[in-house]
Amino acid sequence: MAAISPDNRGLRLAVRYLVLVLVALIFVLPLLFMVMSSFKPDQQLLADTSSIRAFLPVGDVSLGNYAEAFQRAPVRLFVFNSVLVTGVTVVLSLAICSLAAFSFVFLQWRGRGLVLSIILATLIVPFETIAIPLLLIVSKLPWIGLDGVEWTWLNTYRVQIIPWIADGLTVFLFVQYFKDLPGELVEASRVEGASWFQIYWRVILPLSGPVVATAAILKFLVMYNQYLWPLIVVQQEQYRPVMVGLQYFFQLNVAWGEVMAYLTMITVPVLAFYLVLQRAFIASIASTGVKG
């Protein structure tokens, strides 16, 4: 067996790429299986699972499963609901959590260390433990809207958005990133007479692209994959998100082709969002050491 010497760069590169390709395959093959299966009738899909054909567009391929999926569930509505809830939550979360982090890092106020510790402590509390108390609160919470006063938040978009805007992880990400920014920037801005909000908006935020991308992607994934919370606070189909909608496909006789077609469709927004932000996301992970 030939030893790999430091000088043998070609071989080292080949081995490195081989390993990378194998690792990439582990992640890509399930997606490929999902997409290819979405074009096959159930009988063929199940028969193909035991061979390489599962990853190939071979046999009786068609868009039939997609047509059936639209027939079985209001797919467009579910995707719209999820994108709306996720998009609004991500934007509000970035604004609120970055402002909070700015306050913790740059403003001097009594007790900020304690408050930050309490916020970070919420990271160890699983959502399942507070789901029921939160349900009881939102079920009786008043809301003043265009239609006047409502006495519950159930069956609305706001109940899927507002409780998820602020979270410890996003605050933590911004705090860690802001701490690494040169303090002189803030001091110089203060000397120049900038207000705190101007410093946040015109100095800090423009430098925070990577952490904004990271926080946005992580929040996007959490929100887009929401299942338990919308399940218990939304009883009307018109507000259901994609993950609850997935259950429409699990009947006594599961139509696996339709399941794959639905999964393919609801995966598209996630992939698109990630591809748009991936460069900044990778830069952020590289600079902060945060694991996604």
């Binding site: 159930d42 009988q43 199940l46 028969a47 699972t49 027939q71 079985r72 569930a73 029921i132 349900l135 009881l136 079920s139 519950t152 159930l154 399940l231 218990i232 606070v233 009883q235 009307q236 189909e237 609850v244 909608g245 259950q247 429409y248 496909f249 699990f250 009947q251 006594l252 006789n253 599961v254 696996w256």
Partner: protein, 421 residues
């Protein structure tokens, strides 16, 4: 001019009558577990439309939920005080919801349900809480040709296979070398399928999930001699290689019997129509008798009324309307399940006398036994599922059943006996 006035007046009267009737109708909300099942939803919507058009007092509006998450949605809504008037409830879950105060007894003309299959009536505390438009049944699927090739007697309801005959059939199938496995039990589906499908084997051995007289303990019922015999028999199915274990591929469960990978399959009647389309000589056999009788599980989805319903008279009126034979038959023809009455069965394609699935009606009428009628069933069923999966994976039957008994008894104690004395 006179004619025009008459037409105008007539139109006004008709408009007033129709809008008046609509305005007079009081909304009665309903939740149903059939989201994603177009056939089922269409039939239910048809019944609701017929009911709403048949009278002027009540207007039922339905919200459909996916079956997999329906129970969680109902429990959450009960906590939030947001239940609808009419509830769809799975038969074995009903006692828990009644005991928890989510439901109220039905107030319907009981003569309407006197012919109903026992599994379709949800009784708790000697009162009728729910009624189902159908029941489900499980049978042993095989091929006529398999019975002939293996030289096996065809069992009947009157003379089912004994436990020994059943095991001899499995051994014959295994020895033939023609099959991957002798028996498919659907082991990958570790939900309600386990207690629904496998409790009958425990009953047939003489055991039980809990003591069915008191419902206050599982001691002796789930770990006595009979239950231990069941546990050892269950373990042998996997040790001897008669059946695939918990890691069974779902694809095999869906197509394995049709492809000829399994000689026998323990499956529900909801797969019967699809199987008949693929397997010409499929036959549906009754459960074997291991000495204490032969059973299958009974009790499927049923209609009930929530405790917080402000218009129970409207809800009762709808349920009375929905349990007419024509609707029972429509559901059966649509989704293949067993209609609740013999008269409705005669109106169906599959369950009428001589129909391809008529044997399932007889199975349901003769063999069906309700799963334990206790609020604790929701916990006990999960303990049972876990225990059977563990034994199939090689755990010691005696230790596993003892541990299951401890868990069930602890839960009963923690809930002050669930109202049983």
């Amino acid at each position: 001019m006179k004619t025009i006035n008459r037409i105008t007046a007539g139109a006004f009267v008709a408009y007033a009558a129709t809008t008046g009737a609509a305005m007079a109708q009081t909304d009665v909300s309903m939740w149903y577990h059939g989201a994603g099942n177009e056939v089922e939803s269409n039939i239910l919507n048809g019944i609701i439309d017929d009911f709403n058009a048949s009278q002027g007092d009540w207007s039922v509006t339905v919200e459909s939920f996916p079956q997999q998450s329906y129970n969680d949605s109902v429990v959450a809504a009960a906590l939030a005080g947001n239940l609808p008037c009419i509830l769809d409830v799975d038969g074995p879950i009903m006692p828990n919801w009644a005991w928890s105060g989510y439901m109220q007894p039905l107030d319907i003309d009981e003569s309407l349900v006197e012919d109903f299959l026992p599994g379709t009536l949800g009784m708790w505390d000697d009162e009728l809480y729910s009624v189902g438009l159908w029941d489900a049944a499980v049978a042993l699927y095989t091929r006529e040709s398999t019975l002939e090739d293996l030289g096996l007697r065809r069992p009947t309801l009157e003379e089912p296979w004994t436990g020994e005959e059943f095991m001899a059939a499995l051994e014959a199938a295994k020895a033939s070398g023609d099959y991957d496995y002798a028996l498919d039990l659907g082991m990958n589906d570790q939900g309600e399928w386990y207690p629904y499908a496998f409790l009958p084997f425990l009953w047939s051995h003489g055991g039980s999930l809990v003591d069915r007289d008191s419902y206050t303990t599982a001691e002796g019922a789930l770990n006595g001699d009979a239950a231990l015999a069941f546990g050892e028999w269950w373990a042998s199915l996997f040790e001897e290689g008669y059946a695939p274990g918990t890691s069974e591929d779902p694809a095999d469960q869906q197509t394995g019997f049709i492809d000829g990978s399994f000689a026998f399959q323990w499956n529900g009647n909801w797969r019967a129509v699809a199987t008949m389309a693929e397997v010409d000589d499929v036959v549906f056999l009754p459960a074997p008798d291991f000495g204490a009788g032969n059973y299958i599980g009974g009790g499927s989805w049923q209609f009930g009324i929530s405790a917080s319903c402000e218009h129970p008279e409207g809800a009762n009126a709808f349920i009375e309307f929905a349990i007419q034979d024509e609707y029972l038959a429509a559901f059966s023809d649509g989704i293949g399940l067993i209609p609740s009455t013999p008269s409705a069965a005669q109106m169906t394609e599959n369950y009428a006398e001589g129909g391809p699935l008529a044997s399932f009606f007889d199975l349901s009428a003769d063999q069906a036994r309700l799963r334990p009628v206790t609020p604790g069933y929701v916990v006990q069923s999960k303990v049972f599922t876990s225990a059977l999966a563990d034994i199939a994976n090689g755990a010691d039957p005696a230790d596993t059943l003892d541990a299951a008994v401890d868990e069930i008894d602890s839960d009963i104690e923690a809930n002050q006996g669930y109202g049983h004395e």
